[in-house]
Amino acid sequence: MKSPLAWHRLWAIVLKEFVQMRRDRITFAMMVGIPVMQLILFGFAINTDPKRLPTVVFNASPSAYTRSFVASMENSGYFDVLTSPATVAKAREAMAIGDVQFIVSIPPDFSRQLVRGEKPALLLEADASDPAATGNAISALNSLNQSALQHDLKGLLATLGTPPPPFEIRVQRNYNPEGITQYNIVPGLMGTILTMTLIMMTGMAITRELERGTMENLLAFPVHPLEVMIGKILPYIMVGYIQVAVILIAAYFLFSVPIVGSLTLLLACVLIFLAANLTVGMMFSTIAKSQLQAMQMTFFFFLPSLLLSGFMFPFRGMPVWAQFIGEGLPLTHFLRIVRGIMLKGNGWTETWPNVWPMLVFMVVVMLIGFKRYRKTLD
C-alpha cells in the first residue's frame, strides 16, 4: 500500500485553486487591496493618546496665576480651550451631547486664597464615559499644578510652590520612547488583517465546492482529504505573504515603523501564523453548510481575536479567565511576536514561547477539520 498522500494530487488541487483564484479577480483584488486600505485607514486613524480635547474654562478669578495655569493647560497639548458656551449650565449640556470633554471651574476667590497659601481647589469636570479618551489628559493636568506656576510664584510666594520631592523618578520608555501609537497599531494590524481575510477565504473553500455541487465529483476522485485540505491551504499561504509584504512595506515607508529584529525570523513566524489561521478557516469550511455560514463563523472567531488578543485593549488589563481565552488565540501570540521582533528586536529565544502555542493550536484545529471532512456524502 502506497502512502495515502501523493504530490501529483496535491499539486492538482493547488493548481486548480490558483486558476480559480485568478478567475475571481474581484476577490483577489480584495485580498491585496483590503490590507492596504485598512492599514492606511486604521494606521492613520487610530490614536490611543488623544490630544486637543475640547475644554471650557470658567475663570471666576482672573489673575496672572490663573491665566498662566490655563495657558499651561493649552501648552500641554491635551486641552483645546473653547470660548463658548458662556455658562456652566450650557457647558454641561454640551458635555452631555459630547461637544465638550472637560469643564474647568476656577472659583472667585481662587487667586486670593492661592496667594494666602490656603491651597485652594479648582474643579475639573471630565466626560469620563470613555476612560481611554480622558485618562492621559487628566494625568497631564495633575502634574500641571506642580509646574504651571513656577514662574509666577517668585520671591516671597516661592514657598507656595511645590517643594522638590525627596527623590526623583526617571522614566525610560523602551522600544517606543515617543509613545507613537502607530508603532503598536501597525504591526498589530498585520495580524488582524491576516486573521480576517485568510479565515474567510479558506472558510469558503470547501463550502464553495459543496454549494456548487463540485464536491460530489471531488469525492468520487481518488483524492485524500488531507490532499484537498493542504492543496487548498497552500495557495492562500502565498496570498498571505503578499499581504504581509504589502503591510510591511507600508509600515516601513508610510508609518516609519522600525524593523529592529530579523526580517527572516519575522517571515518564518508569519508562516506559522498563516498556517494556523488557514486551518481554522478550513475547519470552519468542513462544518459550515454554506458560504454564508462560513462567513458567520469567521466573525464569530474574529471578534474575540480582535478584542481579547491585546490588539485593541491591553492584554494585562483583562481578568485571568479572559487572558486564558486570549492565550488560546493565535493572534495573541502573533501580536507579541510581531511587536517583539519589529520593535524590540527579539530573537529566536524570546520568540519561541509564542511560537509553540500557535503550532499546538494549528495541529489541534487541523485534526478537528480532518475528522470533520466528509469522505462521503452521507
Binding site: 501529483h8 499539486w11 492538482a12 486548480k16 486558476v19 455541487g213 468520487a220 481518488p222 462521503t376
Partner: protein, 304 residues
C-alpha cells in the same frame, strides 16, 4: 476476484433518517455490458450509484465492484471507475482543458497533455477547449463530463442520467460513444428516463421505492409483462374515454390520431375493440414504456 462481473452486489440497503431509500437490492452487471437503470424520480437510482462508487456507505449489504469490496475498498474502486454525476459538477470557472487537466493530474496520467488532447478530440471538444465550462450549453457540459470521467480509462462507467436535457442528436452521439466503449470491454451502468435509451441497453433493471421490481433484457422484460398492445385509429376525440372503459384495458395513450391500448388480457381487449363501431385497430408490439408504467402502477396498487 471474479473477472466476469463488473458489479456484483447483494442486499444493498440505505436509509436517510427513517426514510428507506434502497431496500435489499441485488445487482449484477457483466463485463462489457451496458446496464440500464430505470425507475421513477426518487426511486433510489442515484443512491445506488453513489454507494457503488463509495460516495455513500451502505447500511447493509455486501458485494464487489470491479472485484473490489464496496464497503472496504472504495479508494481502489474510485481509481478505476468513471462516475458522471447527474448534476454537472465540474468547475464552471475552469475551461474545458483546465478541467480535464485537473482530472488527469489527479489520476496521475502519463503523457498528461496528450491524454487531455486525445480526450477532447474523441468528444469533439477541441473547438471549445479554452471556453469556460460555465458558459457551455447543456449538451457540451455533458460531453465534457463524459470526457472527464473516461480520461483515466476506467473499467466501469457509472452514468447518472447523463443525457437529461440533451438534444436528440447529442443523445444519439452519446449512446454511440457508450456502445463503442462497451465493445472495448468497458462496463456501463447508466440511469435514464428515456425509453429509447433503455432499448439500447443490453440489460435493464427497474427500481421503485428502493426495490428492484424487474430486471433482464428489454425483450425479456416485455415478454414477462404479458402485455398485449393494440394501435387504434379513429377521428373521434371522445374515443380515449370509451377505450379506457373497455374490459381488460389497462393503459390508453394518445399519440396524435392513434391510440395505443394495452392490457394483460389481449383476447378480452380484442373483443372489446371489435365491439366499437367505426374503429380500426391492429395488434402492435408492446414498448418498454408500457411495461414500466405497468410495473409502476402495480407497485402503487400494492403500496398501502
Amino acid at each position: 476476484m471474479s473477472s466476469e462481473s463488473a458489479i456484483d452486489v447483494h442486499g444493498l440497503s440505505k436509509s436517510f433518517g427513517d426514510k428507506h431509500v434502497v431496500n435489499d437490492l441485488n445487482l449484477q452487471v457483466g463485463k462489457g455490458e451496458i446496464f440500464g437503470f430505470l425507475g421513477p424520480n426518487g426511486s433510489g437510482k442515484t443512491t445506488v450509484i453513489r454507494m457503488l462508487c463509495g460516495l455513500l456507505t451502505p447500511d447493509a449489504g455486501s458485494g464487489t465492484c470491479l472485484g473490489f469490496d464496496v464497503l472496504s475498498q472504495s479508494a481502489e474502486i474510485k481509481k478505476q471507475v468513471g462516475y458522471m454525476t447527474q448534476r454537472f459538477s465540474f468547475y464552471e470557472d475552469l475551461s474545458i482543458r483546465e478541467n480535464l487537466d485537473f482530472v488527469a493530474r489527479l489520476y496521475d496520467m502519463p503523457n498528461r497533455k496528450q491524454t487531455v488532447q486525445a480526450g477532447m478530440e474523441d468528444l469533439g471538444l477541441m473547438d471549445r477547449a479554452d471556453q469556460l465550462a460555465g458558459t457551455l450549453s447543456g449538451g457540451w457540459k455533458q460531453r465534457l463530463a463524459l470526457a472527464a470521467c473516461m480520461l483515466h480509462r476506467p473499467r466501469l462507467l457509472l452514468l447518472d442520467e447523463p443525457t437529461a436535457g440533451v438534444d436528440p442528436k447529442a443523445r444519439r452521439d452519446f449512446w454511440d460513444e457508450i456502445h463503442r466503449l462497451a465493445e472495448q470491454g468497458i462496463s456501463v451502468l447508466v440511469s435514464t428516463h428515456y425509453m429509447d435509451e433503455a432499448a439500447r441497453c443490453h440489460r435493464l433493471a427497474y427500481i421503485a421505492y428502493g426495490h428492484l421490481l424487474a430486471s433482464g433484457t428489454p425483450e425479456a422484460l416485455i415478454a414477462q409483462s404479458g402485455l398485449a398492445s393494440f394501435s387504434v385509429k379513429d377521428n373521434s376525440s371522445a374515443l380515449a374515454e370509451r377505450l379506457r372503459k373497455l374490459p381488460g384495458v389497462q393503459q390508453v395513450v394518445a399519440m396524435g390520431n392513434v391510440y395505443s391500448v394495452s392490457g394483460q388480457d389481449g383476447e378480452l381487449i380484442k373483443a372489446g375493440l371489435a365491439g366499437l363501431p367505426d374503429v380500426q385497430f391492429e395488434r402492435t408490439d408492446t414498448g418498454l414504456e408500457q411495461v414500466f408504467i405497468q410495473l409502476m402502477e402495480n407497485v402503487q396498487d400494492a403500496a398501502p
